[in-house]
């Protein structure tokens, strides 16, 4: 399959890229790894007059902790994330999720920033950045601004980014002591999107009660779903079998999936409940060890 014609641009700097986006407005798309965008263009699910390739702009591929934050450069390829010692030791939800994104060949090209900024609720990145309370850094003609991850997703493939803005960094607050996070995903096969998946992070206080919890669901509606009620329910409680089950039930109630080849609405909501409970248990276990 051949995409409809477009003009490909490979700017050498972010400013140059933003200049191209400003000039071409809504007719331009940012190309990062291209693992979602190129298939969409080939299938003619979308088209654009200009592709602005940011894949070779230096300085967008890094994973580092500083200033109380984990900073992930938007151009960091998923295969690089999978090898990060920092992530594997301290950010369980990412360590769980990255090996489950698409397949190894796609992860060699696909970037974490692309996964987050594409605005597809079936991607794993969106629910994860919400669960981690991340801030997304966008650069545009007026400079830089940060957007809270849970305010970033507006609708299916619609994000808070303006047409001339580029996501440059994902900033994740370093979790306090006694924190744990986890991702649990159900998919039919390697390379498929999730039938349901849950990203959670929780922090316990000194007595073992939940100080803060955040549950977010993948592929459970037109945007990633932040399950606020389920999260709030846990706060202040010492988590046990019963409270986890209730939090998972509340989280699943917030899911609004649509029926497709991966299952009916009822099935997907039930799987969201089961996976949320499993993710909460895994996160709790990790919180106890940190």
């Amino acid at each position: 399959m051949i995409p409809a014609p477009f003009d490909y641009h490979r700017p050498g700097t972010l400013d140059e890229a933003i200049g191209l986006l400003s000039r071409h407005g809504g007719d331009a798309r940012v190309l990062s790894g291209g693992m979602s965008l190129l298939p969409a263009l080939k299938l003619r699910l979308g088209s654009c007059g200009h592709l602005v390739d940011i894949g070779r702009i230096p300085g967008l591929e890094y994973v580092k902790e500083d200033g109380g934050m984990l900073r992930i450069g938007a151009g960091t390829r998923q295969c690089v994330l999978a090898q990060s010692e920092v992530i594997n030791s301290r950010y369980g939800v990412l360590a769980d999720a990255v090996p489950l994104i698409a397949d190894p060949l796609v992860r060699n090209r696909g970037t974490f920033g692309g996964n987050v900024a594409n605005g597809d609720p079936a991607n794993d990145g969106p629910a994860i950045v919400i669960a981690l309370g991340a801030e997304l850094v966008a650069r545009g003609p007026q400079g830089e601004r940060t957007i809270a991850a849970n305010r970033f997703y507006k609708d299916l493939f619609v994000t808070a980014l303006a047409p001339d803005e580029i996501l440059t960094e994902i900033r994740i607050p370093q979790p306090p002591p006694r924190s744990g996070s986890a991702y649990r995903k159900l998919k039919r096969k390697t390379g498929d999107y999730a039938a349901a998946a849950a990203a959670v992070q929780l922090t316990l206080d000194a007595r073992g009660a939940v100080q803060r919890a955040c549950i977010a669901l993948t592929n459970a509606g037109p945007t990633p779903v932040e399950a606020v009620q389920g999260s709030r329910f846990l706060e202040g409680k010492t988590p046990d079998e019963k409270s986890i089950a209730e939090a998972a039930r509340l989280a699943a109630a917030a899911a609004a999936p649509s029926a497709d080849r991966r299952g009916s609405v009822e099935y997907k909501r039930e799987m969201a409940r089961v996976l949320t409970a499993r993710a909460l248990k895994a996160a709790l276990e990790r919180a106890g060890r940190s």
Binding site: G34, M35, P104, L105, N108, G191
Partner: protein, 158 residues
């Protein structure tokens, strides 16, 4: 829009003028006439179009030719050297790791890249590495055996 690209394919430098929307797999097959790289699903699922881009396996149906300007690409034609098959190619024939052969070029590229990184992969590591390459004859068992056999040939295995 046309782009002048320089790309090294199997060690040979090529200069070409390509249209923005030309896919790498079409460039390889139709411009360079290297038809060992196959086209399968054409939607980045099946992996038969796998080539190495700067040493890493990628799906060439989902990369633009313009994106590989200045890069090194390896295709299945580049595996043999001096008329001698690569150990992974020998192992595929010896372990009967191909039936219809359609997935084979992509499998070979992914497996050769795996062996570059990991001289003695476990069965689990092999299965994970090839999880983005589909064999619709479902001949995975012999493919895994072939990779283990190739690892022994290369000399990494105990």
């Amino acid at each position: 829009m046309k782009h002048q690209i320089s790309v090294t394919v199997n060690g040979t430098a090529h200069e070409a003028e390509v249209e923005s929307r030309l896919l790498l797999v079409h460039f390889i097959r139709e411009e360079l006439r290297l038809t060992g790289t196959h086209i399968g699903c054409d939607t980045s699922h099946c992996g038969v179009c796998t080539v190495l881009l700067d040493g890493q396996p990628v799906k060439s149906c989902t990369v633009l030719a313009a994106q590989v300007d200045g890069c090194k690409v390896s295709t299945v034609e580049g595996l043999e050297s001096g008329g001698k098959l690569h150990p992974i190619q020998e192992a595929f024939t010896e372990k009967h790791a191909l039936q219809c052969g359609y997935c084979t070029p992509g499998m070979l590229m992914t497996c050769s890249a795996l062996l570059e990184q990991n001289r003695n992969p476990s069965e689990q590591e092999i299965r994970q590495a090839i999880s983005g390459n589909l064999c619709r004859c479902t001949g995975y068992l012999n493919i895994v055996k072939a990779v283990q056999h190739a690892a022994q040939k290369i000399g990494g295995a105990p």
